[in-house]
């Protein structure tokens, strides 16, 4: 059984103007579908990456996975337990403890007035667990020094702060860590240190990651399986080699062609055309059809189902 089973997950936000404005301006309520009918599984001890451009729904899925947001429909099951519907509080608690999250901005997610020791042990202390020597041990595990436990967050660089966030996430001995753009705020040389650390910890503790990123090269480096999102929809899922060598969805193809590469000296390729549509009024049928070079009549009528094509799952009428 997969560690995580996400089925037909949908999240809709009410983005209506206040009631009075709506009445005066005669507007309907408006809704934004941030995540639409997304299904995938994450096997234990693997890295599943979600990629996609800004607003494609990556963080919203991550938040539903850790329980920070509830789904509008569909389900997230962790080892068979549906966090949103399970009624046994003890069971929910046990599963919650198995999941931690790391965010993009390593400064905003650390309380500036707390010492590093208290930040790291907080999730465990809150449950009344034994925390003696824990912060010191974890700091050394993430490549900092035990002495750092007495310091405050502002005394650390961005990369060091992200190590502190990782130490805090490890404190509850989780099975699954949702990492939302963990290295996007870091310089490449520091990013390399943090990515290496995350790989080492994964092997050492048998962790599973949901790794959210917009950086294709980072995803290619880290992931065992990659899901590509467009406007809240999962359009393609494949292993890194299949995805990068043989992308099957026209959007994935566009994204890969647009990403600058280290060996693309003086490359002249026509850049992608058009823009990501307004998520409040997404195009009918396949959401990508206004920009798609392969679009046919059916594409503007019917939303494509996920199909298995040569080791990948692809939501496109024309892919084959």
């Amino acid at each position: 059984m997969a560690l995580v089973d996400i089925r037909n997950l949908t999240r809709i936000f009410d983005v209506s103007k206040p009631w009075l404005n709506r009445v005066v301006e005669r507007r309907e309520k408006s809704y934004l579908t941030a995540v639409s009918d997304v299904s995938f599984e994450i096997a234990e001890r693997t890295v599943y990456a979600l990629v996609g451009e800004s607003g494609s729904g990556k963080s919203t899925i991550g938040k539903m996975l850790v329980g920070l947001l509830g789904p509008s429909s569909g389900a997230v099951e962790i080892r068979g337990t549906d966090l949103a519907r399970e009624t046994d509080a003890a069971k929910v608690d046990a599963v919650r403890r198995d999941i931690q999250m790391i965010f993009q901005d390593p400064f905003a997610s650390l309380n500036p007035r707390w010492r590093v020791r208290d930040i790291i042990v907080e999730p465990v202390a809150a449950r009344g667990g034994d925390t003696s020597g824990m912060a010191e041990r974890l700091l050394e595990q993430v490549g900092l020094s035990a002495k750092d436990a007495g310091k405050f967050p502002h005394e650390f660089s961005g990369g060091q702060r992200q190590r502190i966030c990782i130490a805090r996430a490890l404190a509850s001995e989780p099975k699954l860590i949702v990492c939302d753009e963990p290295t996007s705020a870091l310089d490449v040389s520091v990013q390399a240190q943090v990515l290496n650390l995350m790989s080492d910890l994964k092997d050492e503790f048998g962790l599973t990651y949901l790794f959210i990123s917009h950086d294709l090269t980072v995803v290619q480096h880290m992931a065992d399986r990659i899901g590509v999102l467009y406007l809240g929809r999962l359009v393609e899922e494949a292993g890194p080699d299949e995805l990068f060598d043989d992308p099957k969805h026209p959007y994935t193809q566009m994204l890969l062609a647009a990403a600058p590469q280290l060996d693309s000296f003086g490359r002249e390729v026509p850049p992608p055309t058009g823009e990501i549509p307004d998520p409040i009024n997404p195009p009918k049928g396949c959401a990508f059809h206004p920009r798609c070079p392969l679009a046919a009549d059916v594409c503007s009528q019917t939303r494509p189902e996920m199909r298995d094509i040569r080791g990948a799952r692809v939501a496109c009428h024309m892919a084959g």
């Binding site: 060091q160 990068f244 280290l262 693309s264």
Partner: protein, 326 residues
């Protein structure tokens, strides 16, 4: 060869503080020719923006140019003040920043912003300026330009706004564009559009471009030459292909090795130990020596040789030769 559009010589920027003088830019020299894109890369805090701001006279006090010279099309500009600098900025130098909203007035229609800028710097009639405003928006790929001149900045998406900023930077026909992280806030598909646009304008109009970014991929794709900065100094300067595929400075070498690359697969990434030093704690000798795998005793006391145009490519006492990136 024709004179360069921009020439920076031994530029040093200083910030006096209670604890002593900080040098965010120290002894930097480079040129940019007409029609050339010079990429400036380095980690955050390396001094890329400070060097760019020094050229356009936008250093915020107490930061100031303490030494060196800056020439734009043969005219010395580092001593210009107030009005003279403002005039030069609009006329000879266009600017594009990471956040397009810093360059746009939220209360003015974009057509008016373009028209006013042209009237201030070009000797043309209002009718001509209005005609050119539409043409400028068309050139940067704003659909329906003739109608969109009446729109306000907030009515555009992030990528569209950055196009408007580029149109604004170019409308007075400057000879130099300074683009400081112009695509950092944008998605890859929009980034590809903006980079293609900058390259096209540079090629067609012969504009010189200083492209500041921390993204090596963008540099590889867009730049002709690249300047690598570290701790306020120029570490390496040369043709982009040479510097990226066969770096001579150990820092550039480490930087390239730590960038994830398809061909490297899932192997561990190369790590440069430690972090870039803070400006108030610069080591003696070569600023990179505490992190450098090649450091010798001499590196701890003597800084690497400065890079002069036509001189060596790397500011290093023991540069690497013919060592491929791992």
């Amino acid at each position: 060869m024709a004179d360069p559009v921009l020439s920076i010589r031994d530029l040093t920027v200083e910030i006096p503080t209670r604890y002593g003088i900080l040098r965010p830019v120290s002894g930097v020299s480079y040129d940019i020719a007409a029609g050339e894109i010079l990429g400036v890369v380095g980690e955050s805090g390396a001094g890329k923006s400070m060097a760019g701001n020094a050229v356009i006279g936008l250093l915020s006090p107490p930061a100031h140019i303490a030494a060196g010279e800056i020439h734009v099309r043969g005219t010395r500009v580092d001593q210009l003040t107030g009005d003279a600098m403002r005039r030069l900025r609009g006329k000879e130098i266009g600017m594009v920043f990471q956040d397009p909203l810093t360059s746009l007035n939220p209360l003015l229609r974009i057509g008016d912003q373009l028209t006013e800028t042209m009237l201030a710097h070009l000797d043309i009639s209002r009718a001509e300026a209005e005609r050119r405003a539409v043409a400028a928006l068309e050139e940067v790929g704003i659909p329906g330009a003739a109608e969109r001149v009446g729109s306000y900045p907030h009515e555009f998406s992030g990528g569209m706004r950055q196009r408007v900023v580029i149109a604004l930077a170019l409308c007075a026909e400057p000879s130099l564009i300074i683009a400081d992280e112009p695509t950092t806030a944008l998605d890859v598909s929009v980034q590809a559009q903006i980079i293609a646009l900058l390259k096209k304008l540079c090629r067609e109009r012969g504009t010189a471009v200083m492209l500041i970014t921390h993204d090596m991929g963008v540099i590889a794709e867009a730049a002709d030459r690249v300047a690598v900065m570290y701790a306020g100094q120029l570490a390496e300067l040369g043709p982009v292909r040479d510097v990226l595929t066969a770096p001579r400075h150990p820092y550039t070498h480490g930087l390239m090795g730590s960038t994830p690359l398809a061909s490297r697969g899932k192997d561990r990434l190369h790590q440069i130990p430690g972090a870039m030093p803070r400006l108030d704690a610069l080591p003696d000798g070569c600023a990179f020596h505490p992190r450098c795998p090649r450091a010798h005793d001499r590196c701890r006391v003597s800084p690497g040789p400065r890079i002069e145009d036509g001189g060596g490519r790397a500011a290093c006492l023991f540069p690497m030769v013919e060592e491929a990136v791992a």
